[in-house]
């Protein structure tokens, strides 16, 4: 009996050490991903959000040295203006993604799921993106925008919240044929339904998830 007891203690401790291997944080990169950043911004920025919603055609991006780059509210952004704030992140799609234009019937239709399932599915898409790459995804949520402070790049995401609205998950989207600037995208905090092809890309060594060839669906 003493031997069994000793064996149990050893196995319990071994399991304790093993359990560390399954920690969720090992599945994600050390850096916050864009959607995490967006989710946090959506939670914390209330006054700023309201201001930007009221005047969606004017966006301000802070540069590294604290100067502000202001995009004009002309309605359409010229290449010259866009290049001022455009960064150099790699937007190259995976080959299997290029074969899908995202117009077909969605393989993952998040609009048909309840909030629990949507939140869980999006979480899993972010955690294990290779399983979902090149699949057509349709989702409904809140449009959120953020900028890279170093490059001035704009990023837009469709954000969904869980039942208690304290946790958010979302996916960045790139509208087909449109530059990622506020003028060409929906206003922040507006309800959107977006359909696109799920893919990932690398920026400064970190992998990010995105919906390519995205279209806004009524």
């Amino acid at each position: 009996m003493k031997r069994i007891f000793t064996l149990f203690l050893i196995s319990a401790m071994a399991c304790g050490v093993l359990s560390g291997c399954s920690d969720k944080s090992t599945r994600t990169t050390g850096k916050e991903n864009i959607v995490d950043q967006l989710a946090k911004e959506a939670m914390s920025e209330t006054a700023t959000d309201k201001e930007q919603t009221e005047s969606p055609t004017e966006a301000v991006a802070s540069s590294e040295n604290g100067d502000e780059l202001v995009i004009s509210d002309s309605g359409d952004t010229s290449d010259e203006e866009y290049d001022k704030v455009k960064g150099t992140y790699d937007k190259t799609a995976y080959p299997e993604v290029e074969a899908n234009d995202g117009t077909g019937t969605p393989e993952i239709d998040l609009t048909q799921m309840n909030s629990t399932m949507v939140y869980s599915e999006v979480y899993n898409m972010m955690s294990d993106p290779t399983e979902y790459r090149a699949k057509t995804v349709k989702m409904k949520g809140t449009c959120t925008m953020t900028t890279d402070e170093n490059t001035g790049d704009y990023f837009f995401a469709c954000l969904i919240k869980d039942a208690t609205a304290c946790c958010s998950q979302g996916i960045e989207f790139q509208l087909v044929g449109k530059k990622p600037v506020p003028e060409d995208y929906p206003a922040e905090n507006s309800e959107i339904t977006v359909q696109g092809v799920f893919d990932t890309y690398f920026d400064q060594g970190y992998e990010y998830c995105t919906l390519r060839y995205a279209r806004l669906v009524e």
Partner: protein, 278 residues
């Protein structure tokens, strides 16, 4: 039913059901012992300790939070169960002290030193489980299966000893049972279950998994064996029902499971009253 079948196609739903059932089974087995030893609230206390440890690990930016959570929880469980009533601070007071202390300390740490800007989201997720059970990967499921098999095996192998220690420690000691060692074993098993169960229902609701199956079972049965068996069945059915309702209705998993257990408890209570067993 169509919706359920559709949802079951998702691997994370299947994982959640497997892990949920296993955690429910394990927690109910030890729940009977804890309730009879007057340690019903230990699950709550230990889960708060685990929350505090998780906060420290998060603030320290550890990629492997379990390195801190599991040892700290096991240590606390040993301190609470092993010392029992032989200390100046009695069992229930010690649990309350450790429980609120760890909860407050953890929340303070997360606010002051947290690297995440969404503190409310992190706290909500840890305290109420949120959707944790629906975000498990295959490695975590495998680990849970292994730990659950160990817990069930330990319970079966040491069933008689656990029975002795549960009802009368002095008598068990008198007949040569190494009570302190078995208390240590129970403490370790409980700590492992608590850490696992945090995924299912979150820190604040873990006690429900421990006490409701045991209390409901005691409304209907009298012997330790029958109470334990019914407790396990009750816990598994309630957890499974709770998860399915949650998935279909879009409600939070942890609180739905506990709500189902509360309803089931009252059903058992009424049946017990009618049949005169209660």
């Amino acid at each position: 039913m169509e919706k359920l079948i559709e949802y079951l196609q998702f691997p994370f739903v299947r994982y959640a059901i497997i892990v949920g059932v296993l955690i429910a089974l394990c927690s109910s087995l030890l729940g009977v012992t804890l309730v009879l030893k007057r340690y019903s609230f230990i699950g709550d206390g230990l889960s708060h300790v685990a929350f505090g440890a998780m906060a420290i690990a998060a603030c320290a930016n550890l990629t492997n939070e379990m390195v801190i959570i599991l040892p700290v929880t096991i240590l606390s469980a040993i301190l609470l169960l092993k010392t029992g009533n032989n200390t100046k601070i009695k069992g229930d007071a010690a649990i309350a002290m450790i429980s609120v202390g760890a909860l407050a300390f953890g929340y303070l740490m997360m606010n002051v030193f947290s690297t995440s800007s969404n503190v409310s989201g992190d706290v909500c997720s840890t305290l109420f489980g949120s959707m944790s059970i629906l975000t498990l990967d295959s490695e975590e499921v495998t680990l849970c299966v292994i730990l659950s098999v160990i817990v069930v095996a330990v319970f079966i192998i040491f069933y008689n000893r656990i029975f002795d220690v549960t009802f009368d420690e002095n008598f068990a000691r008198a007949v040569g049972t190494k009570v302190s060692k078995y208390n240590l074993m129970i403490a370790i098993v409980i700590a492992v279950i608590i850490v696992l169960a945090m995924n299912l229902v979150g820190s604040l609701l873990i006690s429900a998994l421990v006490i409701f199956p045991a209390l409901s079972s005691m409304r209907l049965f009298k012997s330790f064996k029958s109470v334990t068996l019914f407790s396990a069945i009750f816990s598994v059915i309630c957890s499974l029902s709770g998860m399915l309702i949650s998935i279909l209705a879009g409600t939070p998993v942890g609180s739905t499971i506990v709500a189902v257990q509360v309803v089931a408890f009252f059903i058992c209570f009424i049946i017990g009253k009618i049949t005169g067993r209660s």
